[in-house]
Symmetry: C2
Subunit: 325 residues, 2 copies
């Protein structure tokens, strides 16, 4: 097992224009797969090995549902979320825990402030510090704990890579991505982080999104996310705006420049920004979705990324590829 080079084959994905210069350029990899899972378009290397970070959450949720987690709607969307830590997000997480006879004290994810500045302000103004509840992965961790309760597994060691819950996540990841899990480390939140390939990640999202009309675990995840996009992200988040704009879209952002999205027809896209920046992610996702057949007008607002001087646009972030590029 050799160590892959994430830079090999990377291509420019987006340019940052300020005034009449290109100030910065983001390289990376993009893949677009059809409903049959075959690669339709690629920029860079579709087979690149990546840490999918939080973009794997819908897959983790499929594993949880397969082992007894019994939630739906906004509750399930929160399990798949990197939430902004707004008050209604926290209420749902508390409800998930209470439903399993658990409390915030059972969460083992890394304490952090809410992602949204206003939510962080409110949390601190209430006298709180960084907490597991407010960290953006708390819905996933609540779901993991609730799954352990349903399956009769121990909860104190649910983050151990050898725990049956984490082994179930590996199995679901291999099944949905069609790729082996060759590397494991620790994610920011403390959960095991599994490697996959970019095309494998896209295929998983295509499978999940296409299942929306059936009763499978994947279908339950797809319906929850597509129906409750605010719970998957939050106010002003582009992941929320994309799902609100495209009916049936199942999209998830991940740290260090990862994004994946599946369409109801089973087509899907995944991208990795080589430098890990979130800045070009929305623009690049919109360009990839256009290649997958989404009307660009639907996602133009979700993708808009102006570059400001004195508070006014003096440039913008533009994709290097797409149907019109």
């Amino acid at each position: 097992m050799s160590v892959p080079d994430v830079a090999a084959g990377a291509r420019p994905l987006a340019r940052v224009h300020r005034g009449d210069l290109v100030e910065s350029v983001h390289l990376g990899h993009v893949v677009v797969v059809g409903p049959d899972g075959a690669v339709r378009h690629a920029v860079g290397d579709p087979d690149v090995t990546v840490w999918p970070r939080s973009s794997l959450k819908p897959v983790q949720a499929v594993a949880m549902l397969g082992h007894g987690l019994d939630v739906a709607g906004a509750d399930l969307a929160l399990v798949c979320a990197s939430h902004s830590g707004e008050r209604a997000h926290l209420d749902v997480v508390r409800g998930l825990l209470a439903g399993a006879g658990l409390t915030e004290a059972d969460l083992q994810n890394t304490p952090d402030w809410p992602l949204a500045p206003d939510a962080a302000w409110e949390w601190r103004a209430q006298g709180h510090g960084p907490a597991s509840l407010t960290q953006n992965c708390s819905g996933k961790h609540a779901g993991m704990l609730a799954t352990c309760r349903a399956a009769g597994w121990s909860t104190h060691d649910y983050l151990d890579p050898t725990h049956p819950l984490q082994q179930a996540v590996v199995a679901a990841t291999v099944e949905l991505t069609g790729a082996p899990v060759e590397h494991v480390t620790v994610d920011g939140c403390g959960a095991p982080l599994l490697s996959t390939t970019l095309v494998g990640l896209a295929r998983a999202f295509g499978t999940v999104a296409a299942a929306a009309r059936d009763g499978s675990a994947a279908g339950r995840v797809a319906r929850a996310m597509a129906t409750h996009p605010w719970h998957v992200g939050g106010t002003g988040r582009d992941v929320t705006a994309f799902m609100a704009a495209v009916p049936g879209l199942v999209a998830k952002d991940g740290a260090d420049g990862v994004y994946a999205a599946g369409l109801p027809d089973g087509g899907a896209v995944a991208l990795k920004v080589l430098d890990g920046s979130g800045r070009p992610r929305a623009v690049v996702l919109a360009a990839a979705l256009a290649l997958a057949g989404v009307d660009p007008a639907l996602v133009a607002e979700a993708a808009r990324t102006p570059v400001l001087g004195h508070g006014r646009p003096v440039g913008e972030v533009r994709a290097t590829f797409g149907p019109d590029a």
Copy 2:
């Protein structure tokens, strides 16, 4: 005048290791010049045209001193700063304005929160919103206003590119960088933003740092910055740590991945991270300084950039180049 391509010739500068994978890679350009201004080392293209952003502030300050600004010490360091908005920074800015018979109301830089989260918290807890005073460039703007007063120039239009102050900044930039200013736009703070070349930026810093023992405007800037590194950045900022660690170093960070630093012998370095990320800047600056003769042990702590999983290091950001690479 053709539009240059900032991506042309860019090379990997730093890799982000998480677990046993390279998660992300930052490309860009680095130049190291000797005391004579000649290029000693380069990674990527030393002649690349960049928006220097806030790294040009020491040069802007030289222009101000040349037209009557009469400040020194921490006051002058603040004029060269992208400060974190901590209380003592704000006090210095208020003092600069008062010394010129002006107030916060005369500042025209874009209102913003303090850069430092704790300072932003304190500012908001006092009932304030985003303000020109707390925006990281307020020292520069106070210096520009004070210069206008000293020179007998109007203050209401000091941000106009045709204002004599801004024309003086262009002249100082051309003189110190040895490169023409071929592009102009608006910086985030509202001041005119002048293009330069990476090697020109390095030469300007070498000239400024080498002047520290003379009475010139450049020498005054060098002494102020090297003696008051906290005022140039703030608590926990790497620009502050580098200057505190290396006697006589004159360093300045800039938005979108720019960094420049000059040494007392006139040697200097400048770098542009192609993707604009601040993440690899300290690591890349340390590697460049090592090529310029700085003992790596001096700056190891300033450059340390761990990658965390569950709050503990699971990787790090490492430069791809340097004396040992």
